[in-house]
Amino acid sequence: MASETTLTPSSYIEHHLGFNTSSVGEGGFWVLHVDTLIMSVLLGVVVFGFLWWAVRGATSGVPTKRQAAIELLMGFIDNQVKSIFHGDRHVFLAPTAFTVFVWVLFMNAMDFLPVDIMAWIYEHVFHLSHWRSVPTSDVNATFALALSVWLLMIFFSIKVKGLGGWVHELFCAPFGSNPLVWPANFLFNVIEYVSKPLSHSLRLFGNMYAGEIIFLLLGMWAATGLTGTIASAILGAGWGIFHILIVVLQAFIFMMLTVVYIAMAHESH
């Protein structure tokens, strides 16, 4: 389905993993992945627009099925937040967790779109030679979420403990306030602050990227003949079904880590 005239396995994979880029300045950094941005913003607008529409008519009486479904999801997330965070969660943390879960879930769910059919549609309907459907398989998207959470974490840490309290904690936790262990404490905290956004974002990215790669490999197998087509169809269906679990699970894990990190920032050691 690629635009190239000769289709080799490597060009197939390369094409599917190529971003629709748009350069806005000098150098490698000033590049936008238009596909990631459009897909994520579009999903955000559609999904949160739907939520807004459903919630605007929210009634405290007998709810509609639409409202009840959203309330179930809300109650589920609210319970998770309640078990971790002991402040007033309705002000910020619970709605943030809700946002993270819903948005990541739908961005992950783009993985269910069949890669080659979508590539054909993007190519022939929208005239886009490169288009990645799954925003969360772009490391920029997951890093953006994780770094936002990271900033929120530092923000709440400073807000709750004060700047002095935060710096104090950088040097005096977890080993104690003896000046001799200050370097160890600081090193420990730096490692923690670095590893948190990395593990947070790379876990999601890795899972979604690997999922996509497996779909592509199955697609390649399908091109090798009848046996390959049948086998890859069956395996693709199996992987797709398994992917339902991965998509939801990764969204859930991402949300839980968000809640845990921000809740931890509220607690002083």
Partner: protein, 156 residues
């Protein structure tokens, strides 16, 4: 894996979505749910109250019923007593009346007897006078003997 401006753009849209949810999605839903929880709690409380009231009312009804039954029993007893009294009274009156009638009748009978005796006495005296007159017509002075007989008749 190339980090670029997409990251910032994505972070901005993330921030906007968080703001949107915090502002427009979560609060109305939370309010609706909390109101419903309150309504349900109120409804349950009202139901509980209703049940308690029902229990109280049925208890009251049963006490009323018992007292009404007692009252009715009392009234019946009174009525029976009164009926017995009335019967006794009537018996008494009837007895007095009967006695009165009996006494009257007895007096009348006595009168009748006296009257009959009187008549008989007169007739006997007349018969005696007539007989004596027939026997003693000749020699006896009718007038002197008549006086004597009258004295006897009066002594009878």
């Amino acid at each position: 894996m190339n980090i670029n401006l997409t990251l910032l753009a994505q972070a901005v849209s993330f921030a906007i979505l968080i703001w949107f949810t915090v502002k427009f999605v979560w609060p109305p839903l939370l309010r609706a749910i909390e109101n419903r929880q309150k309504q349900i709690a109120d409804g349950l409380a009202a139901g509980e109250r209703g049940r308690e009231e029902l229990a109280q009312a049925s208890e009251r009804a049963s006490t009323e019923l018992t007292s009404a039954r007692e009252k009715a029993t009392g009234i019946i007893a009174q009525a029976e007593q009164r009926a017995a009294e009335i019967i006794e009274e009537a018996k008494g009156v009837a007895k007095v009346e009967g006695d009165r009638i009996l006494t009257g009748a007895r007096a009348e009978i006595d009168q009748e007897v006296n009257r009959a005796k009187e008549g008989l006495r007169q007739q006997v005296s007349l018969l005696a006078v007539a007989g004596a007159e027939k026997i003693l017509r000749r020699e006896i002075d009718a007038r002197a003997h008549g006086d004597m007989l009258a004295t006897i008749a009066n002594e009878l």
